[in-house]
């Protein structure tokens, strides 16, 4: 279990309508999780997001910070098999978790099939959203395989299929300012075909 190791002073303030003064002493906590197959233990300020833990503390800078508010998907990681926005979760809430970032999916000399398909289909321009797109893309195909429906699934009782409409809807949490969407759909469609 994770425990915070220091207590912030409880200055309750004078209760005036003005902003009450609040000394902000950082609180540290320890967390251990597995990142890309490697066990890591970190002493972190409790405020540290999983995204900042990866980028600033583990120097895994593949995951990007676009908005820091769950609105863009650039920070998408796969945690315990599920894609999440790493900016909207605290690192210390992931004790024991299995975390995969873009670095763990594949490396330049050993690309994940989704990475290779993004290269082949030009699924990016500037590349900023791409790590998030690829992590999301991999998880989306798993979600469809697992039978999880989406907003555009016509029949809730039937298994969803990999269609362009399904991919577009399920990838809507990943914004691409360069507008590489149609090529991303092509890349994902190819990988899905290869898996079938």
């Amino acid at each position: 279990m994770v425990g915070a190791t220091a207590a912030a002073p409880q200055d309750r303030g004078a209760g005036t309508s003005q902003t009450t003064a609040r000394t902000d002493v950082p609180v540290l906590a320890t967390v251990t999780f597995t990142v890309n197959g490697e066990r890591r233990t970190l002493d972190l300020d409790t405020r540290t997001s999983l995204l900042d833990a990866a980028r600033e503390h583990l120097h895994l800078t593949g995951s990007k910070k676009g908005c820091d508010h769950g609105q863009c998907g650039a920070c998408t990681m796969i945690v315990d098999g599920r894609r999440i926005n790493a900016c909207l979760t605290l690192a210390i809430m992931h004790q024991g978790a299995e975390i995969t970032t873009i670095e763990g999916l594949g490396q330049p000399d050993q690309l994940h099939p989704m990475q290779a398909a993004f290269v082949k289909h030009d699924g990016y321009q500037c590349g900023y959203c791409t790590p998030g797109q690829i992590c999301s893309g991999v998880a989306v195909l798993e979600e469809i395989k697992a039978g999880i429906p989406s907003h555009v699934t016509v029949d809730l009782d039937a298994a969803p299929r990999v269609t362009e409409a399904e991919i577009r809807e399920r990838m809507s949490g990943n914004i691409c300012r360069c507008g590489a969407y149609s090529n991303i759909v092509e890349a994902m469609t190819e990988v899905a075909g290869g898996q079938a």
Binding site: M1, V2, G3, A4, A6, A7, A8, Q10, R12, S17, R22, D24, V25, P26, V27, A29, D45, T46, R47, S49, D68, H69, G70, G73, T76, R82, R83, I84, N85, L88, T89, L90, I92, M93, Q95, S136, A139, V140, E143, A146, G147, I148, P149, S150, H151, T153, L156, D157, R168, E169, R170, M171, S172, G173, N174
Partner: protein, 316 residues
């Protein structure tokens, strides 16, 4: 973000006691709303009680033929649950219409019910907002209020409950189950869960401080076509301008709740008798007391047309 201490208890009683016994403590579940607000210092808890170790993450049948949904069941899992898809389609549809795949993987049943408004002034700490800072005024009344409430608002606040799931739960007559630090359990009908602003818009719901949501129960399924229609500014990953959660028969009889129009899912059960007469008959009655602003009056027509589309869908 302001600093905070953190703990992760393993029983609901411990969690409720931890929040009740610590000044400015809050529960954290998926964190997708709370952390967003903490980054902007709209929420500034000094202590977080992580409820992810409590279990409460299963969907179980009830003796009455309904379902009991644990407070920690993720939106993705609830939407994909076979019983929910088969018997409570309106709930699956509402969940799937909300947020993004990444967010639904984290978002929980309880956290979704308690998500705060998306009023732009609530989010902007430089602006007056009675919900964020009681007594400071409401910037939205004479400001940009296109997204805000058309009914049930007050001179103090015209914010909406922005979520989708609660609208489906309203048409399903769900009940919210809670426990407090003393171990007292409470069952709150969804109709009485969210509050209208009145002169205390800072209180979104009738939960007491430190009261922990443990589950949401659904009564036995209601027959009919289960429909959730959401109208928004883009096709996905956007909040509702207006939404309709409905369970309708081919003859047009049934039940309907509206989202995006008030501080709570809006339902007028008496007006449902008019459903066979068509959408306008119903919305004229449901929104008889509406007080829209010039910017959001379009929502009344939109509610009528969205219900009309739902009625057509049920007849098809």
């Amino acid at each position: 973000m302001k600093s905070f201490t953190y703990e992760r208890p393993s029983t609901p009683a411990q969690a409720a006691a931890a929040v009740a016994g610590t000044p400015d403590a809050k529960f954290i579940a998926g964190g997708t709303n709370l952390l967003d607000l903490m980054k902007l210092q709209i929420e500034t808890p000094r202590h977080l009680v992580d409820v992810n170790g409590l279990g409460l993450d299963t969907v179980e049948p009830t003796a009455e033929g309904g379902l009991r949904i644990g407070a920690l069941v993720r939106n993705t899992d609830l939407a994909a649950h076979p019983r929910v898809r088969k018997d409570y389609g309106v709930l699956s549809r509402a969940l799937l219409a909300g947020a993004s795949g990444q967010l639904r993987n984290k978002a929980t049943t309880a956290g979704n019910l308690l998500q705060r408004t998306r009023c732009p002034y609530f989010y902007d700490t430089a602006q007056a907002c009675n919900k964020r800072r009681p007594g400071s005024g409401c910037s939205a009344l004479d400001g940009v209020n296109r997204q805000l409430a058309v009914i049930g608002g007050s001179d103090a606040c015209i914010a909406t409950h922005p979520g989708d799931m609660a609208v489906a739960m309203r048409v399903l007559d769900a009940t919210v189950e809670t426990v407090d630090a003393a171990g007292t359990e409470r069952r709150i009908p969804i109709a009485e869960f969210h509050r209208l602003p009145g002169d205390a818009p800072e209180r979104d719901t009738n939960l007491k401080p430190g009261e922990l949501i443990t589950a949401v129960t659904l009564p036995k399924p209601v027959a009919g076509t289960h429909i959730y229609r959401k109208v928004r500014d883009r096709a996905s990953y956007a909040y509702a301008l207006v939404s309709v959660a409905a369970i309708l028969g081919k003859d047009g009889t049934g039940h309907v709740a509206f989202g995006g129009v008030a501080a709570k899912p809006w339902r007028d059960a008496a007006a449902e008798a008019d459903l066979p007469k068509g959408a306008k008959a119903v919305t004229d009655r449901v929104f008889a007391d509406a007080k829209p602003t010039p910017e959001n009056a379009y929502k009344l027509k939109l509610a009528e047309r969205t219900l009309g589309a739902a009625l057509n869908q049920a007849r098809a």
